[in-house]
Amino acid sequence: MTNWVDACAADEIDQEDVVRFDHAGRTFAIYRSPDDEYFATDGLCTHEKIHLADGLVMDDIVECPKHNGRFSYKTGEARGAPVCINLKTYQVKVEGDRVMIGIGA
């Protein structure tokens, strides 16, 4: 069962950018694409556990701020050294002006 959690205001995230959301001891990264779609992944890089919300978003890629590992934030796919483990992704929906993420039961 999907547990929908209110993560942030929709306008809190700039286009082609990312913010951090912490919930229940976990950290997530929430993205807004250049065409205003929202996405969510685990918040830490799978290489050295750096917060991806400090990273740079270009098109559909987030780049880790520390060691420049790249992921597709839409699919979680690792896209270049040094990362080789994909990010977990989460469902996202926008209700009114709020971004909700589905993080499981």
Binding site: H51, G55, L56, P65, K66, H67, N68, A81, P82
Partner: protein, 413 residues
């Protein structure tokens, strides 16, 4: 995949391991042999001066290539073995045990070795930091109330100082230049880092020469030119590194501040490439200026490019030089070559974080350097790196203000 012939990589650090991985990712199907003189699996070195020293319980190091990865990719890892010679005509690498391995193509990723302190007495209390074994030896001396003396105010020395101080050790940094980070780091950033260390209780002594060192198996005494004498439990020496070129020299391969390669990472010998800390290469962004970089990112990126070229890609290496250092809660990052700049524009980001943009005489962005808590400067440095790569001449007012650097970046149509 039988026999020895295929690609041999001499040096099993980040660069060599990344090259081996990339060869398989590129579809290379012949034998790959990775020769390393350490007995360990290939691991990343940046944590050695940071997490490994900070945490007694820290895993020894981040492994780049595990046993499973080696097996799955049929990469043969010859560990604890050094290459003593290359027979360029017979296309063989001779190991120190006399065994000869044949290659079709050879990649040298032999790295660098810490510069030794001349005339220092032999002592288990005088240490250098390059390998995981070095780090574990040093870690045993880093505890509350121990006195760690650091010789050299470069990245390694300062990272060790921060880690040791964070664990409660008394720390003294000794630098012969008038300031720390003299090579490649702008003065305002060095001042910030100096203040950060002093705020954390480190004694930073600049402009002092070492007149003499006495050491036994329990302590080290360092006599300085200002009349001071530092008595420490351990002395860590971080006074730079030298490229490991012995193998190339023996083989008659051209050397120029490292194994000299062209923009495709080819050495002067047929079918032999070099990459990472051990090589110097011409950089097209800086007018073909020959560089040798001791940086994790360079090792990684050149390993990947060398792998591509070993399998026929013929690509030029033109990544923007990039360095980072973590000390306490602060990160320092530099993209590009600061000394290519003529004009500096400063951008403040709050919380003491700032970035310096370095422009050449055509006002082209040639470097960006910054320091601040956490990863506050990371996005702007990354964007700067992209602007440098695209040879952008940015409006100065946009650099100084808080304009989004992304808006300055030319995008593909």
């Amino acid at each position: 995949m039988s026999g020895d012939t295929g690609i041999i990589i001499v040096g099993a650090g980040e660069c060599g391991a990344r090259a081996a991985l990339s060869l398989r990712e590129n579809g290379y199907r012949q034998a790959i042999t990775l020769i390393g003189d350490e007995v360990h699996l290939p691991y990343e070195r940046p944590p050695l001066s940071k997490q490994v020293l900070l945490d007694e319980a820290a895993r020894p190091a981040s492994i780049v290539l595990s046993d499973i990865m080696l097996a799955e990719r049929a990469i043969r890892h010859v560990s604890g073995a050094s290459a003593s010679a290359i027979d360029t005509l017979g296309k063989q690498v001779i190991l120190s045990n006399g065994r000869a391995l044949s290659y079709d193509k050879l990649l040298l990723t032999t790295g660098a070795t810490p510069r030794r302190l001349p005339n220092a007495p032999a002592s288990s209390r005088i240490l250098y930091l390059r390998t995981i074994d070095d780090a574990l030896a040093l870690r045993s001396h880093i505890r509350a109330n121990m006195h760690v003396a650091v010789l050299g105010g470069g990245f390694i020395g300062l990272e060790v100082a921060a880690s040791a101080r964070s664990r409660g050790a008394k720390v003294t940094v000794i630098e012969s230049q008038e300031r720390i980070l003299k090579r490649g780091v702008p003065e305002p950033i060095a001042e910030t880092i100096t203040a950060l260390h002093r705020r954390n209780g480190v004694i930073v002594k600049c402009g002092v020469a070492v007149l003499g060192i006495e050491a036994d198996e329990r302590h080290v005494g360092i006599s300085l030119s200002d009349g001071d004498k530092v008595s420490a439990d351990v002395l860590i020496v971080g006074i730079g590194a030298q490229p490991r070129t012995e193998l190339a020299v023996q083989a008659g391969i051209a050397v120029d501040n490292g194994i000299a390669v062209n923009e495709r990472l080819e050495t002067s010998a047929a079918d032999i490439y070099a990459a990472g800390d051990c090589c110097s290469f011409p950089h097209p962004l800086y007018g073909g200026r020959r560089l040798r970089l001791e940086a994790w990112r360079n090792a990684q990126d050149q390993g990947i490019l060398a792998a591509a070229n070993l399998t026929g890609a013929a690509r030029s290496y033109q990544a923007v030089p990039y360095f980072w250092s973590d000390q306490y809660d602060h990160t320092l990052q530099i993209a590009g070559l600061v000394d290519e700049g003529q004009l500096v524009v400063r951008r403040d980001l709050g919380d003491g974080a700032f970035i310096l943009f370095h422009l050449d005489d055509e006002q082209r962005l040639v470097a960006a350097s910054g320091v601040g808590p956490g990863n506050k400067i990371a996005k702007d440095i990354k964007l700067s790196e992209m602007l440098i790569a695209k040879r952008v001449i940015p409006p100065i007012e946009a650099l100084a203000a808080e304009a989004n650097l992304k808006s300055l970046l030319p995008r593909a149509a």
